[in-house]
């Protein structure tokens, strides 16, 4: 009963947040609504006892992906009016997506009538069951090749993104950190004997002090 109340509460927040993503005029507000949507989905996942995936959803999407998203959205000066203008143009595509989503939902309920009930949820798990371990065991044995392939794919994407944005412009004077670190005092500071022998000059009597050398 309590779980059901929680489920409906989180679902309501999730739907409101999802609406907020597409309805708010300010792109930063949209991004923040998306963060809230991820968070509530994680809470919903916790209700069906998949704590590993729920926490990873928060860690990866909320903690990293959306931070970068916000970073970009805040920097870009998005012209809201022009973005709005595309509404009619993209309405057809939107309609197709909406129909597809609706069809999937109907499919789930239709399957229940056929006897395959996907809405019941998983049976309660034993106390010592750790889905972190279970996931790890499957991921690194049965699905190890797809897993490694996905990793390589991500690496290729990183390398590609860097090569695309890396420009070798002539005339730049970047700092060579190794050179900066390797500098010793002797390279920069030279101590000289005071040439003013009369003893009345400004440098008199200071030749041994570091300041006397700095001026030379």
């Amino acid at each position: 009963m309590f779980v059901q109340i929680l489920f409906y509460a989180f679902s309501a927040i999730l739907l409101a947040a999802a609406l907020g993503v597409i309805a708010s005029r300010n792109p930063v507000h949209s991004a923040l609504s998306l963060v809230l949507a991820f968070f509530t989905s994680a809470a919903l996942w916790l209700l069906i006892e998949v704590e590993f995936l729920a926490i990873v959803l928060v860690l990866v999407y909320v903690g990293a992906v959306m931070v970068l998203f916000l970073f970009v959205v805040m920097m870009l000066d998005v012209n809201i009016e022009r973005v709005r203008g595309g509404f009619i143009r993209h309405a057809g595509l939107g309609l197709v997506v909406a129909v597809l989503v609706a069809a999937q939902m109907i499919g789930v309920f239709w399957a229940r009538d056929l006897g395959v009930d996907a809405t019941l949820g998983a049976p309660p798990l034993p106390d010592d069951y750790s889905n972190t371990r279970a996931l790890g065991e499957v991921l690194y044995t049965q699905y190890v090749y797809p897993f490694e392939l996905a990793a390589v794919l991500l690496l290729v994407a990183i390398v590609a993104a860097i090569t695309l944005t890396l420009r070798q412009r002539p005339g730049l004077k970047p700092q060579d950190v190794a050179q900066q670190v390797a500098v010793r005092r002797e390279d920069r500071v030279r101590l000289v004997k005071d040439v003013d022998a009369s003893g009345t000059g400004p440098g008199a009597g200071r030749d041994a002090s570091p300041r006397g050398g700095e001026g030379a």
């Binding site: 704590e51 590993f52 926490i55 928060v58 903690g63 931070v67 970073f71 805040m74 972190t132």
Partner: protein, 352 residues
């Protein structure tokens, strides 16, 4: 006393865990208050000053002991100025967003062999995800203020935290490999067997990386470019005043205490005694307990102040270079080394 203990044991679980949550929260808030005082004292001593010594003294002892309370009362009485160009709602919410994760992470902290509020299997991931959520407060504060300085601070902070989170996560991968679990209590238990089996010896490079990333994650000197008072005034909280400013302060110190505690748990055996195995098992010094965690936590907390008193602030591009080009490669190499050690059962892994 036994009657009280019986009464405590007879309470339902919900009541008991709520009571523990309250106790831990109040303890963290009080620790934050005295950490601010301790920081000013320590830095004062390091710079040959006295630090706060006016407010309150008990029979001439501990002068300045009530300074934190005086500060809080002062900040509470001050007006919270709301800039007219600010995004009102986000401006108010941002301090709370930084504060909540800093406190919520304490739920999985193993305080004692038998005491942890939420003993969850993926505790380490929980801590990582919460600390990564804290950055939203900084970014939103900077953006909602609608000021160039605040926005620059927010941008710097976002890039810095994302970069150091990776180093931090990799360092913890080594810990997880060594302990074979994500549960913080079990990570401590995996370090049982005296000083020699604490992870900071076997995972020393990861320990150093974690410590450095911890300082960077909390936006503390020498990584405090998000504040950078010499170039961007006070960064993301430039327009915050009164208690709204105090909340940022509270979050920063709560995060410092948390990171110190986590360093103790991951690398220095949490509540384990350093004399375990050296002294006889019935010696009180060899017993595990909260006091050991407290001592270790206090040591790292004082280190945070030490860094602040001694190091000049990093330049922004140097921070990025250190994070991406030094810390991450170091962790990658040592994860490989740790894998070899685990596989060939070297060191503390020889037993199992």
């Amino acid at each position: 006393m036994t009657a009280l203990l019986d009464l405590w044991a007879s309470l339902p679980d919900v009541v008991r865990s709520t009571a523990w949550i309250l106790i831990v929260t109040v303890a963290v808030i009080l620790s934050v208050a005295f950490t601010t005082l301790w920081e000013r004292k320590v830095i004062g001593w390091m710079q040959l000053r006295k630090g706060p010594n006016r407010v309150g003294s008990i029979f001439g002892l501990l002068p300045g002991i009530f300074q934190p309370f005086a500060d809080v009362i002062k900040l509470l009485l001050k007006e919270v100025v709301l800039p007219s160009a600010a995004n009102k709602w986000l401006f108010r919410v941002a301090p709370a967003i930084t504060l909540i994760p800093a406190f919520a992470a304490w739920a999985v902290m193993p305080l004692d062999p038998n005491l942890v509020i939420a003993d969850i299997d993926a505790g380490l991931l929980y801590v990582l995800s919460l600390t990564s959520v804290g950055v939203y407060g900084v970014i939103l504060a900077g953006w909602a203020t609608n000021s160039k300085y605040a926005f620059l601070g927010a941008m710097r902070s976002a890039a810095q935290i994302v970069a150091y989170e990776i180093a931090m996560g990799f360092a913890l991968v080594g810990v997880v490999m060594a302990a074979g679990t994500l549960n913080l209590g079990d990570i401590v238990r995996a370090q049982e067997g005296g000083l020699g089996s604490w992870f900071f010896i076997w995972l020393f490079p990861l320990f150093v990386v974690y410590l450095i990333s911890g300082v960077a994650e909390t936006n503390r000197a020498p990584f405090d470019v998000a504040e950078g008072e010499s170039e961007i005034v006070a960064g993301f909280h430039v327009e915050y005043s009164g208690i709204a400013f105090a909340l940022f302060f509270l979050a920063e110190y709560a995060n410092m205490i948390l990171i110190s505690g986590l360093t103790a748990v991951f690398f220095l055996g949490g509540w384990l005694s350093p004399f375990e195995g050296v002294l006889a098992a019935d010696n009180p010094l060899a017993q595990p307990g909260f006091h050991w965690l407290f001592l270790k936590l206090f040591f790292f907390l004082t280190c945070f102040m030490w860094y602040r008193a001694t190091f000049p602030r990093y330049r922004y591009d140097q921070i990025m270079r250190l994070g991406w080009k030094v810390l991450i490669p170091v962790t990658l190499v040592w994860i490989a080394v740790a894998a070899v050690m685990v596989h060939f059962r070297v060191g503390p892994w020889s037993a199992n």
